[in-house]
């Protein structure tokens, strides 16, 4: 399989074309706009948290490439219902994986099907595309209104 076919797998192309949770949550508790200043792409994340500290609703909107859009789509689908602390742990595993600092095969982890994005580590110019929505989510959980991939 060629290098980029490994990155642009059918699942990613499908999430790009039919993104899940691609909507505004009216009066969401937490809203954060994530920017990638390198390319000008931006994704806004909407979050509601329930009384137990779990993410009860999670959505996104914005403009981005297939990698950033699919990453946002799969992130929202995967994290909905999970406790905030677990979401933060998954963020750090995901972030380390796409930067090539964590091999998901080396130990047990919480990434599930998100390991599809492991191929991103081969593309230094695209790592920030994959992590844009995640930075925005972390920004939202820290009650920030904006976040950037340059943090």
């Amino acid at each position: 399989m060629s290098r980029s076919n490994e990155l642009y797998q059918q699942v990613i192309l499908d999430h790009n074309k039919n993104p899940r949770n691609y909507r505004v949550i009216p009066e969401a508790e937490l809203v954060c706009e994530g920017h990638n200043p390198l390319c000008g792409d931006h994704i806004t994340i909407y979050v509601n948290v329930d009384a137990t500290g779990a993410i009860s609703d999670l959505s996104f909107q914005g403009n981005g490439c297939a990698i950033s859009k699919a990453s946002a789509s799969m992130m929202t689908a995967y994290l909905k219902g999970k406790p905030i602390e677990e979401a933060k742990l998954i963020f750090s595993e995901f972030h380390d994986m796409v930067r090539g600092e964590f091999d998901p095969k080396s130990r047990e982890n919480h990434l599930g099907k998100l390991i599809l994005f492991e191929g991103v580590k081969e593309y230094s110019s695209r790592i920030k595309c994959a992590s844009l929505a995640w930075h925005a989510l972390m920004g939202a959980l820290e009650k920030k209104q904006s976040a950037t991939t340059e943090a």
Binding site: S4, L7, G64, C65
Partner: protein, 434 residues
Amino acid sequence: MPNPSGTSAAGGTASIPAFKPVLDIKKDFPVLNRQFGGMPLHYLDSAATTQKPLAVIEAMNTFYMESYGTVRRGVYRLSEKATEAYEGTRKKIAALINAASEREIIYTSGTTQSINLVAYSYGRKFLKAGDEIILSQIEHHANIVPWQLIGEMTGAVIKVIPVDDTGTLILEEYKKLLSERTRIVAVNHISNALGTINPVKEIIRLAHAVPGGTGAGPGGRGAVVLVDGAQSIAHMAVDVRDLDADFYAFSGHKMFGPTGVGILYGKLALLESMPPYQGGGDMIMKVTFEKTTYQSPPHRFEAGTPPIVEVLGLGAAVDYLKKTGLDRIAAHEHALLEYGTAVLKEVPGLRLIGTAAEKGSILSFTLEGVHPHDIGTLLDEDGIAIRAGHHCAQPTMDRFGVPATARASIGPYNDASDLDALAKGLKRIGEMFR
């Protein structure tokens, strides 16, 4: 398959004109003859930076190996020889753009620094609150942000010449913006994001005729004009005296030379009126703690040890440009632009952004349902190098309602095989995302 003659495989069909090459110079550029992942490289990013001919690489290597020394300081032979070669490039550049004197040629680090030099030196001295700077809507950030910074310092205000839907400047709107408050007009010769060739001679004539008082025009009236020539210098013959440009800025690395060196041309009378931009060694006449006096142009604007070997390399690049012939380069690239425009129009879902009647060899486009960054990554798989993004021209992207475009930019070393590969790759990507 690239064919050795460089003529088009698709040539002769009803909709795609045959491409007849004027030049065959790919062989002069070592990197273009390498294989990447078993495939030939189709380099279509010359607007970002051009590849280097062997002549430039060898000139720099030879200088490091045989003659390297500092310039304008040493009294030993090595330094004297280096100084001769270093100042010799200044004469070559002056001849290339038909400047009246090599004293009008300032070495900078590139177009960006050239523009900043004018903004900070000329702008800070001559601009005051309420003065106006006119830019076009399709400038590179390097010809926007320095003027914004100077505007904040001086109170000068920025006005913008709009473009129509083809990316052509609306000259009638420009005429309305010009007034006795206009002090500076700064426009590019060719837009890096769209390829539009701007009518800079007419823009300059009109600016010089305004009733204000910068002295650039006849009778001590008129506004001064800076032309950002980053995209034009290696693609068409430029004559600064015919244009009557006050300042003309360009980069070495976009004209087959090395990075780290660029040029600011300025009319001598203007340069003489300007204070230093940076202080340091080599730009002074005499330094005491009480008072320092400065060199005349161009050395007044060249503080510190310059990029000596890069200047040498730039001299070799000018020799290469002259040997190849700028008129032949322009003819070759224009033929490829027409061929490329025709083959891209056959790609389903492709929209060309920038369709001005007068265009340099730049093809900016979007592909329905595919983000430009995905296009860039996937074309790389076919050995095709293009630029994807906002091209440091976000106001241009806003004007056309897109966050980014993909851009294929053509150099004199390209041939029809490069554009055939591009069109084929884009068709594949379009299908993949459908």
